[in-house]
Each structure stands twice: as structure tokens, then as C-alpha cells.
């Protein structure tokens, strides 16, 4: 299929109006007759052994319907690669958000009061928040007996290291010794959050043996399966419905509190509703972006050829594995980056700690690793006397290049993206010295894989010729599901407005992995097209009978089936749909295959050592640094992406705007800071500093549209996560140019930038430790 074939590029999402006018209903807006309100009792210490739980006082409080703990649910562990959690802690609590008990009461206030009245005794254990120390042999274990837990062992279980992955190509040690120059760098990234505006809400209601759960999740099927697994009931007994979702950014992936609330509703014998406070939304989800220590070493020749890359990455997995088990390998790929590397040896370790668990947040592991690598690339360029853009020009991958694990790339737009971003930001003018000296342009390149996953859809037509798309895909705010009518309409010669969507209901839609991995259009789009094609065949068949023309000579356009070449010979789709014959299609489509790689020398291989339909990105940021305070402002931003063919320009652009702004936050202001105990110091929006609309710079976008085979529908790839990937790196490189030295801690807060500038610029330091001279 060629680029000119592509469907209409600007389509306003059908849920837009209700969202912007406030008419939309989110989970917290729903109320069921007779419902009770839930509150959790969280762990009182980040690391402690529970010695006694007494719920008698709480149970006796007026207005309390149920108090449940681990004794009230089956003793079943759950988790991603390691089954390391229970719904309710009963032996050891491993982070401040571990749930010890839950209460259902007449009002939220009563529920909270009763939760506080539960008596819990602990033997306090030493917290283990230092994930780097936890990786050392002999470090005290976060999970003492985890060798007996269920789950996968593909990434090894060694001390506190829950995932270990290496990418090995050639002989990096030997090659390093031959390099003209060797550059090393150590980088440390703090944890951060998805921070959706909608705090989590869950409502559960039982009818007989069946429970319906309304929940703010990105992954309804994972939520359903989690409820069934932890409560020991069949999946058919659980129906998950997702009302409008107020953002997720990955943090609402995975099974979270649906099991607790279902169990509570069963015990309370009435519907139960949970709505998190903002503080709880920070503390309780087992889902935040991982802190990381990134150590890189690169051997390079004077002409820019990279002969060796060594790397060691240490990732804070937190208390439980969740769905973050794949992080070690994903991070290792980002320490390689979209560059031609002759020899590679990167080791990556995901380590337990008694911090909040890490799991997917938009492009997990990539922004931090890319931030480190791209600063490292600038350091390499400086060491051999090249401009950073030139080094990248010489080393980015192109068709035929061989990836870190032996993947041979097809046509990719890495180099085009670089040139486009440089042009959009005015890099040549900058090199000519046309910016004030407190401004500079930083650039960064990155990549992100497309993700193939089974998905399914039904398409049916109504009697008046309108249609319904029934999908298991989940809308998380990206608009990906909202764009599906475009694809069905194009197949059927109808208008996208002719379709409504039925989605976010596990009893009706086919199984789907949910809103994660930038893959909704990639996989569910394929399914919708396939389903629509079935309907198309049915329409052609009916029309062929009516018009007495061979189906092969018919076409669908403008709401009619007509004879190709003689448009007057036609029958409307509405007439065909109203004729009584059911028009109903289903589809999944054929899954694209991961490209082959050479992994015999790697460990912890999970299928990410080669990137399916990789998305290539260059970002360029013009930053201004207030050199006396360290406050950084991003003045202008350019984003050039190869995401394959773009199916809906307005939706794709929206992902870039949002992803860049989120990336600016991670670069400059967003971090979850833990105290020595591992408690969050800033669990609120006053001190967890998201960027505001006023901080948003103008963002220029260029799409490098390459019709990509073995990818998503119509040659597309994904678009959701990549915009977060190189943003912090681009900003970092701009900052370093202004203040003369790089900042090796993320976020690059004003104080951190200033601390580097104090030395590099020789700022005055007023020592007020002595006696006040004016006193």
C-alpha cells in the first residue's frame, strides 16, 4: 500500500466534546444504590513484619459494614514475572503502600476512621531503599523465600536481582582496547510518576456469583484476570467495565485494586466504591517510573566509528515485580540506542528494594537511559572534536545496518529524523552563534519498538446503514480507540461518524492487552480492518445479487456499493443493511513477526533484543538557562519521528505535544523523592512538579512517513510512547552547552543545574556560616 492510499488525516475524536465540556462520566462519578465506601489501611512502616492484626474495634464502629484482611481472601500470590504479592499483606510489608486491610463503611470519612482504628503490631525491619546496594552479593533480601514463589525464571533469581539481561555482540573488551578514545559516564535518574489527573476509582457489585467491576484501568482484561486469579473464581464470573478514563500514562496498567474491592463488596454484601485521594494516588499504586543508575563506556575512533559499548544499568524494581519484569532487557536496548555499534556488552539488572514498585510508565526505562546515552554521545563527540549532530549523522542506523543483537534493519528514518529536527529548530543558525549566550540547542536521538499482540474486533451494521465497532481495546486518553472508526469507514466506503464504539467491557469485546505499549492502532487497528473486510465481503455479496453484477466489479464508496466505472448503478449500504441479512464481521488479523536476532551470548532474553518496526526519533530543544538560579526554560522544541505512515495526523500530533511536555517534566521538575526510610517526600501536586500549560514551548513536528512492511495497518507503527523518549536527553544537552558542564542527575532541577554551574561558571558562594558582618 502506498502513502497516497492513506485515509483522511484529521478526525476529531468522538469522546472529545464530553470530556472538554465536563459532561463525561468517569468511574468516580458513578454511584450505585446502597453502595458503601472503601478505605485501605496501608503499611505503617515501609519494611516490617506484622505480628498482630486486630480488627474488632474497627468492626464495632457504627456504619462499618466490613473489615477484611488476608484471612478473608484465598492465600494466592500474584505478580508478573514473579508471583510475589498477596492482595493483603500477612507476613511482611515491603513498602509504605502495601495494603494490610480494607474497610467498607457508610461514608468515606467513616471508612477512613475505621481503617485507622484497626490495630496492627509490627516488628520493624531495616528498610532497604538503596537498590544499588541491594544488588550487591550478600545484601539482605527483600523477599527472603522468593525462590519458592511461582512465576517465570527466565531472567534468573539471584539475591535481590529479579531480572538480569545482557546484550552481547562481538567482543567489547577487546575492541575497547583498540579505540582511539574511550569515554565514560555515570548517570543517576530518580523515580517519577505517571501522575494521571484522574485518581484511581473502583466500584464492585456482586449479583449472585458474578461480580461487575467498574474501574479506572488501562488494561481491563488484566484487571479481570487478576480478580479471577486472586479470588479463585472463573474469569466468566468477572466483568470489568471502564467508564471514561482520566489518563493513565502507563500507571494504570496491570491489576491493581479491583481484587480488594471485589472482596470487600462480597463481605459487605453491597456495592463498594473506592476513590483515591491525590496522596493515595501517589503512594499506593505499585506503579511508578524506575530510578536508575546508568554506567556507560564507549570506545570510538577519531572518525566517529563506535567500536565498543560497555554498559551496566541498575534499576530500582521496588518491592514487587508487577508487570515490570521486562525492564532490564528494555533498558539494555536503550543503552545501545539506534546507532551502529560494532561490539556491545551491556548488562542490566532489575533489583528489589523496599520502595514503591516500578512498572510501566510511558516508554518504561527509555527516557532515563536515553537521557544518559545522549549526554554520553555529546561527550564522545566533544572528545573527538566533532559536533554532536555530526557524530549522530555518522552513526545512526539505516537500512541494512545490524542491530545490537544481530537484527538487520529494513528502511528506517533515523537519519531523516535527525536532519528534520535540526532544520525545524534552526540548528545551523545556532552553530553560527546566533543565539544569546544563555541559550543553546541540545539534540537527542532515540527509538522505541512496536509491539505485536493478539487483538480482536467485531464490526456490525445497523439497519439504517450506521455501524458499531465492538473492541476489547482500551482508551486511555491517547485517542487510539477513538481513531478506529477511520479504519472501518475506509474499508466500507462509509464515514467515520457513521460508527459508534462499544468498548471497555470485558464481557463484550475480544481479549486485548489494553492501552499499553503504543500498540492499540498497531494491533486493534489490524483487527478492525479485518472485521470490516468481512462486512465488506457480505455487502458485496448482497449487492452483487441485487445489482446482478459480479462482486469483483463492485466498489464501496460514499455510502453505496456501486459498479466500478458506472457509479449510477448502485445500491446504498443503508438499503443493504436494512434488508434483514445480518452484517457482522469479526477479525484479528495476522500478527507481524518479531525480526530474528542472534542472542546465543545474551541472557535474560525476552523478545526485545530485536525491535519490531522500530520508531526512530530525534528531538531538539532550545533551552534558556538562568545561570544564577539554575532555572531552565525550554523555549522551543522540535520533534521528528519515523512512526511509519500516519493514520490520523491530529491524534499523532497530540501524542507528541503531550509526550514532549511529560518529558520536559521528567527532565526538569518531576521526581518522587524518598526519605531514608523509603517514604515518599512529595506525594502531592504541589511538590511533585508537573509542567503546566504555561511552561509548554512551541513544539514543531515532522513525521517521516515510511510505509513500513511487517508493521501496523497501512504501514504504520506506534506513536504513543516515543515522544517521551529523547526529550530529557535533548534538554540535558542544551543545558550542558550553556553552563559548560553536563548535569548527571535526573531530573535536572534548578538546584542541581545551579550546583554544577557554581563550579563551572565560578558563581559567588556567600558563606553565612560565620558571624553576620552587619550585626
Amino acid at each position: 500500500m502506498t502513502v497516497t492510499d492513506r485515509v483522511e488525516q484529521v478526525f476529531i475524536r468522538p469522546d472529545g466534546k464530553e470530556k472538554v465540556t465536563g459532561a463525561g462520566r468517569y468511574t468516580a462519578d458513578l454511584n450505585l444504590t446502597g453502595q458503601a465506601h472503601a478505605a485501605f489501611r496501608f503499611a505503617d512502616h515501609p519494611h516490617a513484619r506484622i505480628t498482630r492484626i486486630d480488627t474488632a474495634t474497627a468492626r464495632a464502629m457504627p456504619g462499618v459494614f466490613a473489615v477484611i484482611t488476608h484471612v478473608d481472601v484465598p492465600e494466592i500470590r500474584y505478580g508478573g514475572m514473579v508471583s510475589d504479592r498477596h492482595l493483603f499483606a500477612h507476613d511482611v510489608v515491603r513498602w509504605e503502600g502495601d495494603v494490610v486491610a480494607a474497610v467498607a463503611a457508610r461514608t468515606p470519612e467513616l471508612a477512613r476512621a475505621a481503617a485507622a482504628a484497626i490495630e496492627v503490631d509490627y516488628e520493624v525491619l531495616d528498610p532497604l531503599p538503596d537498590f544499588v546496594a541491594n544488588a550487591e552479593p550478600g545484601a539482605p533480601l527483600v523477599h527472603a523465600d522468593w525462590q519458592s514463589y511461582g512465576g517465570s525464571r527466565s531472567m534468573g533469581r539471584d539475591g535481590n536481582i529479579l531480572g538480569r539481561s545482557t546484550i552481547v555482540k562481538g567482543d567489547a573488551d577487546a575492541a575497547m582496547a583498540t579505540a582511539d578514545v574511550v569515554v565514560r559516564g555515570t548517570y543517576r535518574a530518580d523515580a517519577s510518576q505517571g501522575a494521571p489527573i484522574e485518581p484511581r476509582a473502583v466500584i464492585a457489585q456482586w449479583t449472585g456469583d458474578k461480580v461487575t467491576v467498574w474501574t479506572s484501568t488501562q488494561v481491563p482484561f488484566a484487571a479481570r484476570d487478576g480478580v479471577a486469579h486472586t479470588l479463585g473464581i472463573p474469569q466468566s464470573a468477572v466483568r470489568v467495565i471502564v467508564p471514561l478514563l482520566g489518563g493513565g500514562f502507563g500507571s494504570k496498567c496491570d491489576f491493581h485494586f479491583e481484587g480488594h474491592i471485589a472482596a470487600l463488596a462480597r463481605a459487605a454484601r453491597r456495592p463498594v466504591k473506592l476513590v483515591f485521594s491525590r496522596r493515595e494516588e501517589f503512594i499506593a499504586p505499585d506503579h511508578r517510573r524506575e530510578g536508575m543508575l546508568i554506567e556507560l563506556e564507549t570506545g570510538v575512533m577519531r572518525d566517529g566509528r563506535i567500536v565498543a559499548r560497555r554498559g551496566r544499568l541498575t534499576l530500582d524494581g521496588g518491592a514487587y515485580c508487577g508487570e515490570g519484569g521486562f525492564f532490564a532487557q528494555m533498558a539494555a536496548m536503550h543503552a545501545c540506542g539506534p546507532y551502529v555499534l560494532e561490539n556491545v556488552n551491556v548488562e542490566s539488572r532489575l533489583v528489589y528494594s523496599t520502595n514503591q514498585p516500578s512498572a510501566s510508565v510511558r516508554a518504561p526505562t527509555a527516557p532515563q537511559t536515553c537521557w544518559a546515552l545522549e549526554q554520553h554521545m555529546d561527550a564522545i563527540a566533544a572528545a573527538i572534536g566533532l559536533d554532536g549532530a555530526e557524530l549522530r549523522r555518522r552513526t545512526l542506523i539505516e537500512a541494512g545496518a545490524v542491530g545490537p543483537a544481530g537484527q538487520v534493519f529494513g528502511e528506517v528514518g533515523a537519519k531523516q529524523a535527525l536532519e528534520a529536527a535540526l532544520e525545524l529548530i534552526g540548528y545551523d543558525d545556532y552553530l553560527r552563534g546566533e543565539l544569546p549566550d544563555d541559550e543553546a540547542i541540545g539534540i537527542a536521538c532515540g527509538w522505541w519498538p512496536s509491539m505485536a499482540s493478539p487483538s480482536g474486533a467485531y464490526v456490525k451494521l445497523n439497519g439504517d446503514g450506521t455501524g458499531v465497532i465492538i473492541t476489547g481495546a482500551q482508551e486511555c486518553g491517547s485517542g487510539a480507540v477513538m481513531g478506529l472508526p477511520l479504519l472501518a469507514a475506509a474499508e466500507l466506503g462509509m464515514r467515520p461518524e457513521d460508527f459508534t464504539l462499544h468498548y471497555q467491557d470485558t464481557d463484550s469485546g475480544p481479549w486485548d492487552m489494553g492501552a499499553s505499549g503504543s500498540q492499540t492502532t498497531f494491533n486493534n487497528g489490524r483487527a478492525v480492518i479485518e472485521a470490516a473486510r468481512e462486512v465488506r465481503a457480505q455487502l458485496l455479496e448482497l449487492a452483487s445479487q441485487q445489482l446482478e453484477i459480479d462482486a469483483a466489479e463492485l466498489e464501496l464508496a460514499d455510502g453505496v456499493v456501486r459498479a466500478a466505472g458506472s457509479p449510477d448503478v448502485a445500491v446504498s449500504i443503508a438499503d443493504l443493511a436494512g434488508s434483514g441479512t445480518p452484517l457482522l464481521g469479526k477479525g484479528s488479523g495476522e500478527l507481524p513477526e518479531n525480526p530474528p536476532g542472534e542472542t546465543s551470548s545474551c541472557v535474560g532474553v525476552l523478545g526485545m533484543e530485536t525491535f519490531l518496526a522500530p520508531q526512530l526519533i530525534t528531538h531538539a530543544a532550545r533551552v534558556k538557562v538562568d545561570r544564577q538560579t539554575g532555572v531552565v526554560r525550554v523555549m522551543e522544541f522540535a520533534a521528528a519521528h519515523d512512526s511509519g505512515v500516519i493514520l490520523n495526523r491530529i491524534g499523532a500530533d497530540g501524542q507528541v505535544y503531550g509526550g514532549v511536555l511529560m518529558g520536559i517534566g521528567q527532565a526538569l521538575s518531576e521526581a518522587t523523592w524518598f526519605d531514608e526510610q523509603g517514604r515518599q517526600r512529595n506525594p502531592g501536586l504541589l511538590d511533585y512538579k508537573l509542567q503546566t500549560a504555561s511552561d509548554a514551548p512551541p513544539i514543531h513536528i515532522r513525521w517521516i512517513e515510511i510505509d513500513t512492511p511487517n508493521a501496523g495497518p497501512r504501514g504504520s507503527k506506534g506513536v504513543g510512547e516515543p515522544p517521551s523518549v529523547p526529550t530529557p536527553g535533548a534538554i540535558a544537552n542544551g543545558i550542558a552547552k550553556v553552563i559548560g558542564r553536563p548535569v548527571h542527575e535526573l531530573p535536572m532541577t534548578a538546584e542541581r543545574v545551579w550546583s554544577v554551574a557554581v563550579d563551572s561558571l565560578g558563581l559567588e558562594w556567600i558563606d553565612t556560616s560565620g558571624k553576620d558582618p552587619s550585626a
Binding site: 496522596r279 511538590d687 556567600i766 553565612t768 553576620d772 552587619s774
Partner: protein
């Protein structure tokens, strides 16, 4: 359930009566209600809404040239006042950066002052402008300087039944052009809280050649917002003629003096060391902006932005 009461006052007398009976006044509610929702302190058992009291939302000049700003004047209204823009631009600098558009539309000057946070933004410029609080209670009306009003973080010298009616800015005395400015360290452009702030008000000599008078105050780095006389002394007399070296030296000295006067803490927003150094930077910038304004130069509101892009 909780027996909490909320009434609405139609007059100052209504409000004072309710307050004498134990009710807390609510103006915009952006501190009181939002703070309670954050668990900072519980919502009071009895509240009296004062936002409908007529006459407390105007900005007026009396015949002597003193400016009276009603307690219910919002930050947005302060920004819209040509009178204040001319007479007290430093106050506009502060109101312009309070919270977000919504906060500025709802939050009042009276609420900001009576909340008595050491990080309140209007505090430092008001203090430097010599503002007085007009308080009316069961036993009449009195005026207090802001240095007497603020006792400790969150506490004022007003008694429980005293309503703040207005803030009064005295008429300028002495010849010579005046300028004022407030500058805050901000990590982002909306929804910030002062980590360090500084205000300066200056009067020039009649010929404009020197700084004749100066007031400097610092925000968020002492238990209550305070004037820094040592910094003021550094500015007074500074020669504005020539290449500006003397002014630059005076600004540097004032900044250092202010840093010495600060007693900041370390917390999640900034370390003690960084805060201390930033006191000097903010003080320099506020004084520079105030002097520039006194000399008739254009300094954008808020001066926090101007000082960065300058």
C-alpha cells in the same frame, strides 16, 4: 453529620458577630478550604462566608493620597488596577504569580495577608510599601503594621473576632521617583509556591541620581516575612550615574546582606545552601527592578519573568 455550620455575612457587623461566636471567616477559600482538603488543618466547625459583604472589594485613594485596598479585592483585580500598576507595581508582581488563573480569580488580598504564611507572595511588597492592616472587631477598628500583624507561621495578632477590612498603603512621602518590585524563584510558570522571594521599594533623590530611600523584605526564608535593614543600608546612597558599577556593587552588597538575614531550612523544595544563595540573587533582582522602574524603565509584570529574560 459533623454539625459543621456555614453562614453568610451581609455586612462587616454580621461577620464580626459570627466571628465573636466562634466562626472563621472564609473569603475565596483557596487557603482555608484547599488546605483542609490537603489535610493541613481540618475545616473549622463554624465558618462565615464574607465574600458577599459589600464595599470590601474596591481600591480607592483617599484625599491624602493613601490607597485603600479592600480585603476582598482579588489578585486578578489587583492586576487590573491602573492605580496600583502605577503606585505599587511590586504588589502586581506578587499577585500576578499567585497560583493559577483560577487561584487569582478567587483568592483575595485579605486572605493572603491573614493566612500569614511566610511564603505568601504579597507580604514582602506590602511590608516594604509600609502597608497597614485595618482590623474591625467587637471593640472597634484599629490599624496594625504588617510587622506587628504577623507573629509566627500561620498566626496573626488579630483576635478571633477581628475582620480585616482593608490594607492601606500610605501616601508616598518625600520628593523623588519611586519604584517597587517583587521577584520569586520559580521552577515553573504557574502553580508555584515561593521557595525564596524578595521585594524592594526605592525612592530616588529628587534629581534621580541616587537612591534616597530603600526598603527590602525577604519571603519564605524566615518564620515571618521581614524587612532587612542591612540590605536597605547597602542600597541607600547608591550612585546611579556613570557606568552602573556602583549600583552593581550596591546590589551585590544588598544581596549578601539579605542572605545573612535569612534563616532557611532544607526540605524537598530546596536545600538550605541553595536557598541562602538564592536570597542574594532574588534580592539583587528585586532591587534592580525597583530601581529601574523608579528611573522610568519598562519592567514587565511579573518582574520574576523580566529578571530571567532580561
Amino acid at each position: 453529620m459533623s454539625g459543621r455550620t456555614y453562614t453568610q455575612a451581609g455586612s462587616v457587623a454580621d461577620a464580626v458577630a459570627a466571628m465573636a461566636a466562634g466562626a472563621r471567616p472564609v473569603a475565596g477559600g483557596t487557603d482555608l478550604v484547599v488546605g483542609a482538603r490537603h489535610g493541613k488543618s481540618p475545616l473549622p466547625q463554624a465558618m462565615v462566608g464574607i465574600h458577599r459583604i459589600p464595599g470590601l472589594d474596591s481600591i480607592e485613594v483617599d484625599p491624602n493620597g493613601a490607597i485603600r485596598i479592600g480585603a476582598l479585592v482579588s489578585h486578578a483585580a489587583i492586576l487590573d488596577s491602573p492605580l496600583l500598576a502605577e503606585q505599587a507595581p511590586g504588589l502586581l508582581d506578587a499577585s500576578a504569580i499567585v497560583g493559577s488563573h483560577a487561584t487569582r480569580a478567587n483568592g483575595t488580598l485579605g486572605g493572603n495577608v491573614m493566612n500569614a504564611s511566610p511564603a505568601m507572595d504579597t507580604g514582602a511588597p506590602l511590608l516594604c510599601l509600609g502597608a497597614q492592616a485595618v482590623l474591625t472587631g467587637s471593640s472597634g477598628t484599629r490599624r496594625l503594621g504588617l510587622d506587628e500583624l504577623w507573629i509566627s507561621p500561620g498566626r496573626t495578632a488579630a483576635s478571633a473576632d477581628e475582620l480585616l477590612e482593608a490594607i492601606e498603603l500610605p501616601a508616598p512621602s518625600g520628593a523623588g521617583a519611586r519604584g517597587s518590585a517583587y521577584v520569586r524563584l520559580q521552577y515553573r510558570r504557574q502553580m508555584e509556591i515561593a521557595v525564596v522571594g524578595a521585594a524592594a521599594v526605592v525612592r530616588l533623590s529628587a534629581d534621580g541620581g541616587r537612591v534616597a530611600d530603600a526598603a527590602v523584605a525577604i519571603t519564605a526564608v524566615t518564620p515571618v516575612i521581614v524587612r532587612v535593614s542591612a540590605a536597605e543600608a547597602c542600597l541607600v546612597g547608591a550612585d546611579l550615574s556613570g557606568g552602573g558599577e556602583e549600583l552593581e556593587a550596591a546590589l551585590q552588597a544588598a544581596g549578601r546582606a539579605a542572605a545573612w538575614a535569612a534563616t532557611p531550612i532544607s526540605d524537598v523544595r530546596a536545600s538550605l545552601g541553595y536557598r541562602t544563595q538564592m536570597v542574594a540573587v532574588m534580592t539583587r533582582r528585586a532591587a534592580a527592578a525597583a530601581i529601574a522602574r523608579a528611573r522610568g524603565q519598562q519592567v514587565r509584570v511579573p518582574a520574576s519573568d523580566w529578571s530571567v529574560v532580561r
